[in-house]
Amino acid sequence: MKRKNIIYIMGIVLAVVLIGLFSLKSDTEPVNGMIIFTQVFPGTTDYDADKARIVAITPENDKPEILSEGFYAARSPVLSSDARYILFAGKKTMDEPWQIWKMNISSNETEKVFKCKVDCTDPAFLPDGQILYSKMVNVTEDAKGFALFTCNSDGEEHKQITFHPHDDLLSTIMQDGRILFISKQQHPSASTPQLMAMRPNGSKIRLFYLNQNNSWPISRGKETKDGKMVFIESSNANEPGGSLVSISLTRPLHSHELLNNDARYHSVYPLKSGKMIVSCKENNAKTFELWEFDPESKKREKLIFSDPDYWSVEPIAVYARQRPKKLPDELNYKDMTGRVLCLDANNSNMPSLNRAEEASKGTAIQVMGIDGIWGEVPLEEDGSFLLRVTANKALQFRTVNEAGEVVRGPSAWIWLSPHERRGCVGCHEDPEMTPKNVEPMAVKNLPVEVMAPDTQEMEKMNKKSEKKG
C-alpha cells in the first residue's frame, strides 16, 4: 500500500475516533453544579399559568439561561439518575395540552416523548428506562382527575397504572424502586391528599403518609441520603407554599418532623453535601427565592438565587445519583383479574357504625365498585376472605352483619392489577400491623369470584356467543 494511502486511512480513523470521543463527551457528561428550576410569574397560586419557564444557573453564571426556549410554558423538571437528561411538562402554544418532553441537558436538545390529546404532566424516570406521568382521565362518569401512566422511553406502550377515583400527581421514585405520589380522593367526595406508594406496575398500592392534623403534602417528595423523605406540607389551599417537613422512610406514618416554617416553602431538592436547595418566600416578600438549607440546624444558610420578576420554584441540583432499584414485574396482562386475601375483615381501625355488640361483627364482605355493589361474600369464621376480582377497576369493601346491616366501611378505594396477589391484615387495620402467622381459613378453598358488572355482562355475552357458535 502506498504511503499516501496509509496516511489517508490513518487520518480518517483519527477523525472518526475524535468525532466519536467528542460526541460521546457531549452526550454523556453530566453538568455538575448546575441548578435547574422553574420560573413562574409572582402571585400565581397555580403555576399552570401562562409562560412558566425552565431555566438553569451554574456556578460560573448566575444569570438564568432559559432552557425551555421556544415553549409557551414549561414546568415540572425531573432529572435522570445519570444527570444527563430532564423530563418536563411543556406546551408550545397556549391552547395545546401539557405534553411530556425530554431534554439533553448538555445540548439543550428537546424531544416530545409522545403526543398527548389531554393534559399530561409530572413526569418521572423509572429505573427500567420507562417514563411515568400523570394524565387527565375520567375518574368517574362525571368527574375528571389525573391517573398515573407509564410508557416506554420511545413514547410507546402506554399503560394506565392507577384506577381509583383520585387525582394522582407529583410522583417521585424511591430508592427501593416504588413510586411515591400525592393522591387525593375525588369521588364520592374530596378528601385530604396523602402520599401513596406502589410498585411501578401499579400493584401493591399502600398508604405511605397521611397528616392527621389537617395538613397535606403539596410538593414532590425527595429522598435524602440519611433515609428521609422531605417535602412541603400546607394547611391553607389559598396561599402558595407551606412548611418544610421530613418523614422517616422506615416509619413514615409516625415520624413527621417540621424542618422549618418561618417562611412559605414551595419545593425542595437534596444536595450532594447533605444540605438542600429550597424554594421559599419570606413573609412579606414578593417572590420565591432559592436558598441553601441545612437540615441539621433547620435553617436557611445562603441565598442562591432571587429574581424579583419571577418566582423561582422546583429546583434541581444536577448531579448523578444511584439509580433506584428495578422492581420485577410479576403481573400477567392476559389475566384481567387479581386476587385479594384478607386475614380478618373484623380487624379494623374504623369505627363500627353504632351497632349493638352482637351486631357489630361482620359476617360477610360486600365488594363495591364506583357504580354499585359487585357482590357479597360470607366471611370465614376467622374473618378471612379470598376473592378473585376484576383487575384495573376501583373497588371498596365493607362488612355487613348477619342482618345484612353495614358494620364497617366502605374502605378506601383500591384496585388489583392484572394477576396481582395482594394481602391485607384487616380492613383499614393499623397499617403498621404485620400478619399473625396463622393459616387463614379462606385459603383452604379456591378464591370466590366477584366481578365488576360489565365484566359479568361480557362473560354472559361470551357464553351466549359460544352457545350460538
Binding site: T250, R251, E330, R421, P435, N437, V438, E439, K444
Partner: protein, 674 residues
C-alpha cells in the same frame, strides 16, 4: 508440528467456524436461556462450566481459605480477644491494643464458640463438625485434651465454680454436661430442635439454651421454638419456655438483675400465602423476652420497622450496667441497640392484649430501639470489653473484627485479621448471607436455609393461595442433583435464582450476571454436608443398617413376589446421589397440589431434614410409609414388619455424601447423569 496435530488444529478451527457460522451462537444462546428460565441475559460459558464445577480445576484454582471469625471471648485482663475462625479452623489470639494476631492455634473442623476458664488459663473450643471440644492451655498455646460431645457442638458456658462445661449439640438436639475435673460427660439433656446458644443466669443457678428450629408441631400449625432451661444444682430441665411463631433463636442474654432473658428471633410467616413482601408479609425479626420474675411470662416484640427489616439476628449481649442490649443482624449488617428500661416499661404498662398486638406491630421498635450501627459483612458473635466500653463484633465475611464505642454508639474501626482477597465464591457467600437483595431487606437466603440447610418449615409459595405448599429443601451438596424445586421445573440454580427468584421471592431487582455467577458458584461448590453421625467413618454399616440396606435393595416382597422395578427404593434413589433426578407420582399428591409429579430428592443426610415429603406433611422418615403410602406407590412397603421398617430407617439415616466425591464414585456419578 506433527501431522496429527495439524489435522486436529484445522479440524478445531473448522469446527469453531462452523459453530459460529452455522447458528452456533444461537444454539449456545438457546441453551443458556433454557438453563436460566429464558430471560435475556449475558451468562457466558464460564458461568456454568468453570466456576460451578465442584473440584473442577477453575473452582480449585480460585478457591481460598478464609478465616470467617464467628464467636469471641475476652481474656481476664482484657488484653487478648480469642476468636474462632470458623472456616480457617483456628483459634486466633488478637491483641486488643495493637490489633495484631499474637498467635493462632489449629483446632477441629468448623470451630464455633470459645469460652475461657475463670482463671483465664484454659480455652474451650467447640468444633462443630468434629463433634468434640478442644481444651487448650493458653500458656502453652496447645491443645491438651479433647471432650467428645453429641453432634454439632456449638454454644458453651462454664459454671461459676469452674467445675462444669455446658455444651449445646446442635445436630443431635441435646445438651452435654461435662465435669471439668474428670473431663467426663456426666449428663446428656434433651433440648428443643437445633440448640445453639448457652447462657448462665447472673446468679449462676440456671442455664438457658436457645434452640434454632421449631419443635414438632401439627402440620400447618404455628411453629414453636424452645428455650430450654436447666438448673445447675440438679442439672435437670426446669423449664421448656416456648415462643410461638419463632425460629432461628441462636443466643440468649440475661439482664444483670436477672429479671429478663432476651432472645433474638426470626418470626416467619410460613402459614400465610406469600402474596407480597410489603407490610412484613413474609419474614419479621424481633426478640423474645422471658419475664423471669413473672412466672416466665413470654413477650415478643419486633425489632423491624414498617419499611425496614433487620434480617437474621444472631447474637445478643447486655451491657454490664444492664441498660443496653446489642443484637447483631447478620443479614442486614447492622447492630441494633436496645434500651432495656424501655422494654421493661412496655412490659409493665401494657395489658396482655396490647402485648399480643405488639408482637406483630412494626412500629413498636421505635419505643425501645436506640440506634442502628452499620458493620461489615455478616456480623455474628458479639463480646463486650470487661469495662463494657467497647463492643467487639465478628464481621465474619470480611475477616474482620469491628470495634464499637458503646457510649457514642459509633463504629470506631475494624481489626483486619488478614484473610485472602475476594473470590467469586466468597462474593457469592456474601450475597447468600445478605438481605440486601430482597425487598426492604426482609430476608436473606440464609433466613430459610440456616447453615445453608433448611428451616424445617413448609411455605405457602405457590402462585395460588393455599396451594402447592413447599417444604424448604437443603442447599447442601446439591451440585449434582438438578433439577431443583419440588416440581423439578428449575433445571439449574441459575434458573432457580434468576428472574423467577426476583419476581416471586426476593421481589426486588434481579441479580446481575456477576452476582448470579457468584451466588451459584458459592451454592454449588462451597456447601458441604456435615459428617453423618449415623455412618461409621470406615463405611461399615451396623447390623440394623445392613438389614435395612437389604430391604432398600430388595426385589421381592416378604411373600416372595417380585416387586416391580418402579416400586423398589433403589430404582428412584440409586447411590451415590440417592436420586434418579426424575419426577414421579408416588401417591403423595394432596388436594391442594396442582403439580402431579414431584422431584425425587437426594437422600444424603436425610436424617437431618425433617419434616419429609414435598409439603412437609411427614414428621419422620417412618411416617412416609406408615401414613402416606397406603397403596405402595411410594415404594412397596406395606408388607414390611415394624422391625423391617426400623431397619430401613436406620439404613436411610446412614446415607451420606462420604462416597460422593472419591474419584471412582465421582466418575460413576458423572456417568449416571448422562
Amino acid at each position: 508440528m506433527k501431522k496429527r496435530k495439524k489435522i486436529f488444529l484445522i479440524a478445531s478451527i473448522l469446527l469453531l467456524i462452523g459453530f459460529v457460522g452455522f447458528h452456533g451462537r444461537k444454539i449456545a444462546t438457546d441453551h443458556v436461556q433454557y438453563m436460566t428460565a429464558g430471560e435475556p441475559h449475558t451468562l457466558n460459558c464460564f458461568s456454568c462450566h468453570a466456576y460451578i464445577v465442584r473440584n473442577g480445576p477453575i473452582a480449585k484454582m480460585v478457591k481460598e481459605q478464609y478465616l470467617s471469625p464467628m464467636n469471641m471471648a475476652v481474656s481476664s485482663d482484657g488484653s487478648i480477644l480469642y476468636v474462632t475462625a470458623q472456616e480457617g479452623n483456628k483459634l486466633l489470639a488478637v491483641n486488643t491494643t495493637n490489633h495484631q494476631i499474637e498467635y493462632s492455634i489449629n483446632v477441629g473442623e468448623r470451630p464455633h464458640t470459645v469460652v475461657l476458664s475463670k482463671n483465664g488459663k484454659t480455652a474451650y473450643v467447640s468444633n462443630q463438625w468434629s463433634y468434640n471440644i478442644f481444651i487448650i492451655d493458653l500458656d502453652k498455646r496447645q491443645v491438651t485434651d479433647t471432650l467428645i460431645t453429641g453432634t454439632g457442638p456449638a454454644g458453651m458456658a462454664i459454671s461459676e465454680n469452674n467445675d462444669y462445661l455446658y455444651v449445646a449439640n446442635t445436630y443431635s438436639s441435646d445438651i452435654s454436661i461435662f465435669d471439668l475435673n474428670s473431663k467426663q460427660e456426666i449428663r446428656r439433656l434433651s433440648a428443643g430442635k437445633d440448640p445453639c446458644g448457652v447462657t448462665i443466669s447472673p446468679d449462676g443457678n440456671s442455664v438457658f439454651v436457645s434452640n434454632r428450629l421449631s419443635n414438632k408441631v401439627p402440620f400447618r400449625s404455628t411453629p414453636k421454638s424452645e428455650i430450654t432451661i436447666f438448673g445447675t444444682k440438679y442439672q435437670r430441665v426446669t423449664h421448656r419456655d416456648i415462643f410461638p411463631s419463632a425460629t432461628i433463636q441462636e443466643n440468649t442474654a440475661i439482664t444483670p438483675s436477672g429479671d429478663l432473658a432476651i432472645v433474638p428471633q426470626v418470626r416467619p410467616k410460613n402459614l400465610i400465602p406469600t402474596a407480597q413482601v410489603e407490610q412484613g408479609w413474609m419474614m419479621n425479626h424481633g426478640i423474645g423476652i422471658i419475664d423471669l420474675k413473672n412466672d416466665h411470662k413470654k413477650i415478643q416484640l419486633l425489632t423491624d420497622e414498617p419499611n425496614a427489616f433487620y434480617a437474621d439476628p444472631y447474637d445478643i449481649v447486655i451491657s454490664p450496667d444492664g441498660k443496653k442490649a446489642f443484637i447483631s443482624h447478620s443479614g442486614a449488617d447492622v447492630i441494633t441497640v436496645l434500651d432495656i428500661d424501655a422494654i421493661r416499661n412496655i412490659i409493665t404498662t401494657s395489658t396482655d392484649e396490647q402485648l399480643e398486638m405488639y408482637s406483630n406491630h412494626l412500629g413498636i421498635s421505635s419505643q425501645f430501639v436506640i440506634a442502628r450501627i452499620h458493620t461489615g459483612a455478616n456480623p455474628k458473635g458479639l463480646v463486650l470489653s470487661l469495662d463494657g466500653k467497647i463492643l467487639y463484633v465478628a464481621e465474619r465475611l470480611d475477616d474482620k473484627i469491628a470495634i464499637i464505642d458503646t457510649k457514642t454508639l459509633k463504629k470506631l474501626e475494624s481489626i483486619d485479621l488478614g484473610g485472602p482477597g475476594m473470590t467469586v465464591s466468597r462474593f457469592g457467600q456474601q450475597l447468600f448471607h445478605s438481605s440486601g437483595h430482597t425487598f426492604q431487606g426482609q430476608y436473606s437466603c440464609l433466613t430459610c436455609h440456616p447453615d445453608s440447610h433448611q428451616d424445617g418449615l413448609t411455605w405457602d409459595m405457590g402462585p395460588d393461595s393455599g396451594r402447592d405448599l413447599a417444604n424448604t429443601q437443603t442447599l447442601l451438596e446439591i451440585d449434582q442433583t438438578s433439577p431443583f424445586k419440588w416440581n423439578g421445573k428449575n433445571v439449574s440454580v441459575f434458573m432457580q435464582d434468576g428472574m423467577r427468584f426476583s419476581k416471586f421471592l426476593t421481589r426486588t431487582e434481579v441479580f446481575n450476571q456477576k452476582e448470579l455467577d457468584a451466588l451459584v458458584s458459592y451454592i454449588l461448590t462451597e456447601l458441604d454436608l456435615p459428617p453423618n453421625p449415623y455412618r461409621d467413618p470406615s463405611g461399615k454399616l451396623t447390623n440394623a443398617q445392613q438389614r435395612g440396606k437389604i430391604i432398600y435393595e430388595r426385589t421381592e416382597t416378604n411373600c416372595g413376589r417380585v416387586i416391580p422395578v418402579m416400586d423398589r427404593c433403589v430404582t428412584c434413589h440409586p447411590a451415590p446421589l440417592y436420586t434418579d433426578r426424575r419426577q414421579d407420582d408416588v401417591g403423595t399428591r394432596k388436594a391442594a397440589d396442582d403439580d402431579e409429579v414431584f422431584d425425587t430428592p437426594s437422600l444424603n443426610n436425610t436424617f437431618d431434614s425433617p419434616p419429609y415429603l414435598h409439603d412437609g406433611s411427614a414428621f419422620s422418615l417412618e411416617e412416609i410409609w406408615t401414613k402416606f403410602n397406603d397403596h405402595d406407590e411410594h415404594g412397596y412397603a406395606n408388607d414390611m414388619t415394624k422391625d423391617q421398617l426400623n431397619d430401613l430407617v436406620e439404613y436411610l439415616k446412614s446415607l451420606g455424601s462420604s462416597e460422593l466425591y472419591t474419584d471412582t464414585e465421582h466418575k460413576t456419578t458423572e456417568a449416571s447423569s448422562h
